[in-house]
């Protein structure tokens, strides 16, 4: 009989006023007892509504049942049938809009904390499993993967397990994509990302960092001159958008990508890093997604007084609920229905303040979404010697402009079908490069699908 307590087991966390001054992980993870107790809240529904809410259809009741029994390795095996990155997804998936939103326990109380149990299982496996990865027998075919974010890692892993000789090409000096340069240490420790990458290497995957495809080598050259029979493009959506308002190029104004790259990739928050960063005394972050939350919480940890400015209301915040909650606990202020119109400079060319217009929500349109519309003559001015624009990113045009016969959408996304097949023979794509900025689990799922399709393509040749 399931444990019918309406509340889920709380996640142990670092105290808010301690953690907002360090970069160590905020959520500490369930203990074995907590994981088993939470697993016991699952009703093991026959029709598995939670699984239908999972973008990669993990058999959630099955893995939770194993946790309830205390067989954590068996639970891990269930998850990894469908997911390649459980330690990552357990931490960063927006569970409240996916699996947990479908949980029957959520109707009268709180849904089962599926993400927390998933994370526990993956961490337990990483800490305790002794099963050595076996290098599969090579099948004699060569495949290339561009980009080492979740889509590329998942694709490379699946292809390697089938025996392909896989090389991953990554533009930066570190693999991992957004997991390495975007999502901060306190939300996703880099040792976890590294573990995934080491796992791929153990499977025989070669990772060539410092290689910008389209500059160092082109997709056509990889296929024609270097013998790669099929290529997966998982190059993400890394191009930052700006608002094009006055003062945006002043000193002290960053894109979230730059701010987070300095911190996560270049470790600028550490004494031993040679890369500078400056969060100022008063930081204003523009945007409401995960990226904005991460930038805000990093700025806070660097000592700034932080305000998030968002043009809609709290209900529309696209960030994970847990991140918003954590940000508030850490002392970050929010200003909703507020939209920047100008950044003002001090006499030395640094940002001094940000002028914003107050907004109100219109009646919902045909798609059901209410639009923010500016209120006439309602302006406020906030002091800000650091301003971080996190209003979205789009795919980098580099690969499109250097690959023959690769079709893209007007906004830059690569056109690919369900299996990731593009307009160019043998070339597949997935993740943010196809969908625009989305989620880790969708990117991971797209990489796995493409790997299966690439296998069929190469075997059929």
């Amino acid at each position: 009989m399931a444990d019918m307590t309406s509340k889920r087991n709380a996640m142990p966390v670092q105290e808010a006023d301690v953690r907002n001054r360090n970069f160590s992980e905020v959520a500490l993870g369930y203990t074995e007892e907590q994981a088993v107790a939470e697993a016991n809240r699952c009703l093991n529904c026959k029709n598995k509504p939670c699984t239908s809410g999972c973008p990669v259809q993990i058999d959630i009741p099955a893995f939770i049942a194993e946790v309830a029994k205390g067989d954590f390795e068996a639970a891990y095996k269930v998850i990894t049938k469908s997911s390649s990155l459980p330690a990552v997804c357990g931490r960063v998936c927006p569970q409240e809009t996916q699996c947990e939103s479908k949980c029957v326990r959520g109707i009268k109380g709180e849904p089962v904390a599926i993400g927390r149990i998933e994370r526990f299982v993956a961490d337990w496996h990483n800490a305790n499993s002794t099963a050595a990865l076996e290098k599969p027998a090579p099948n004699g075919h060569k495949a290339a993967v561009i980009g080492s974010g979740p889509s590329g890692l998942a694709c490379a892993g699946d292809l390697a397990k089938m025996g392909y000789d896989v090389t991953v090409f990554e533009a930066l000096h570190v693999a991992g994509g957004v997991l390495s340069y975007g999502i901060p240490e306190f939300r996703l420790p880099k040792t976890i990302v590294q573990k995934e990458i080491d796992g791929l290497r153990a499977l025989g995957v070669k990772i060539e960092t410092n290689t910008v495809v389209g500059k160092t080598v082109s997709v056509d050259e990889l296929m024609q001159d270097e013998g790669f029979e099929s290529v997966f493009i998982g190059s993400g959506a890394g191009l930052p958008r700006f608002m094009n308002i006055k003062g945006e190029n002043l000193n002290g104004v960053y894109s979230a990508n730059e701010f987070l790259t300095r911190i996560n990739l270049m470790k600028a928050y550490r004494e031993d890093s040679s890369t500078p960063i400056r969060a100022g005394a008063k930081a204003v972050i523009v945007g409401g997604g995960n990226v904005a939350m991460d930038a805000a919480r990093c700025a806070k940890r660097l000592g700034a007084d932080v305000t998030i400015v968002y043009r809609r209301t709290e209900n529309e915040l696209p960030a994970r609920a847990e991140e918003v909650e954590h940000a508030k606990e850490e002392g970050i202020a929010f200003r909703f229905l507020t939209n920047p119109t100008e950044i003002k400079a001090d006499e030395k060319g640094w940002s001094k303040s940000i002028v914003c217009q107050e907004m109100e929500l219109s009646e919902p349109d045909a798609s059901g979404r209410a639009k923010p519309v500016p209120k006439k003559d309602a302006f406020i001015e906030l002091d800000a010697d650091c301003i971080i624009m996190s209003i979205g990113t789009s795919p980098n045009p580099l690969i499109k402009s250097t690959t023959s016969g690769l079709d893209t959408q007007k906004w830059g996304g690569i056109i690919a079908d369900e299996d990731g097949k593009t307009s160019k023979d043998g070339v597949y794509a997935g993740g943010d490069a196809v969908t625009g900025a989305a989620t880790v689990i969708l990117a991971m799922g797209a990489g796995k699908k493409a790997a299966a399709a690439m296998d069929r393509f190469m075997q059929g040749k």
Partner: protein, 279 residues
């Protein structure tokens, strides 16, 4: 690994290195650059590809020691390897349809200008090079420039090498003497490029300036390298580094270049102290 095949001191503050990087050597074109890191915790810094050898797979960089990273780089020796070396980045210099060009370089900018002058010269373009340095001890690449130019003017602030004066003085003199350039290409300190562009604007000569803002990734991902050109925001690493000099907001670029000055001074001092202690 990116081995240092050769290291040569060009003057007390400027060093040349030839690096083993076959993939980059195969693709490099004049005007493009690389980004390197000396070590695991190092900063990413951009340097222009001064030369390349596709056969033996090497790329030449020439750098001025101005701060912590260039100081560290200068302490590395032949046989050692750079931690990271990525490129070729940025767009190559456009040379189509040019017949007569003035290349105006200042200081270490001459290292960036040389491959451009060489390429134009090889294409049969008439190249006039005007290069300026503070004094004779800082003059670099004089022979190389002479070999790539049909006219060569050396200027120095104090008159200890070539003529005394600024590169803009020399350029003005040539233009006034009737030389008709279809393009001026200028590479050097921002303040120099600003005044070269101001001058050529008066004469209505199309001018290209090679910009060197602070960069991180060099792939268009961070926007840290952004500039305003003709009222629009451009990313120097992917849209440049060369832009229409008459449209660049140089004052903004100068302010942005100084964004981390305090941090940089401290880091440079610390690095120098470190090397002193090691000695």
């Amino acid at each position: 690994m990116f081995e240092i095949l050769e290291k040569k001191c060009l003057n007390p503050t400027v060093t040349l290195m030839r690096i083993y990087a076959p993939r980059i050597a195969k693709k490099a074109e004049p005007g493009q650059f690389i980004i390197l890191r000396t070590d695991e915790s190092g900063e990413r810094i951009p340097l222009t590809i001064a030369d390349y050898d596709r056969e033996n797979g090497s790329v030449t960089i020439i750098f001025q020691i101005v701060g912590a990273t260039t100081e560290k780089l200068n302490h590395m020796n032949e046989g050692e390897c750079l931690h990271d070396f990525v490129g070729p980045l940025g767009r190559a210099t456009e040379t189509d349809g040019l017949k007569k060009v003035a290349v105006v370089g200042g200081g270490v900018g001459c290292a960036i200008a040389l491959p451009v002058a060489k390429k134009l010269h090889e294409l049969g373009v008439e190249v006039h090079s005007i290069v300026g340095f503070r004094n004779k001890d800082l003059v670099i690449l004089e022979d190389e420039f002479r070999a790539a130019s049909s006219k060569f003017v050396l200027m120095s602030d104090d008159g200890s090498a070539g003529e005394k004066g600024l590169v803009t003085d020399a350029l003005k003199k040539l233009i006034d003497s009737g030389e008709k350039y279809d393009r001026v290409i200028t590479i050097g300190p921002l303040i120099m490029m600003k005044f070269v562009c101001k001058l050529t604007k008066e004469y209505d000569i199309p001018t290209v300036a090679s910009m060197n803002p602070i960069m991180i990734d060099g792939t268009g991902m961070c926007g840290g390298c952004r500039l305003t050109v003709g009222g629009e925001t451009k990313f120097a690493c992917v849209d440049g580094p060369e832009f229409d000099g008459h449209l660049i907001d140089f004052d903004e670029a100068m302010a942005r270049g100084a964004m981390y000055r305090q941090f940089e001074r401290k880091a440079h001092e610390e690095t120098c102290n470190l090397f002193r202690e090691v000695k």
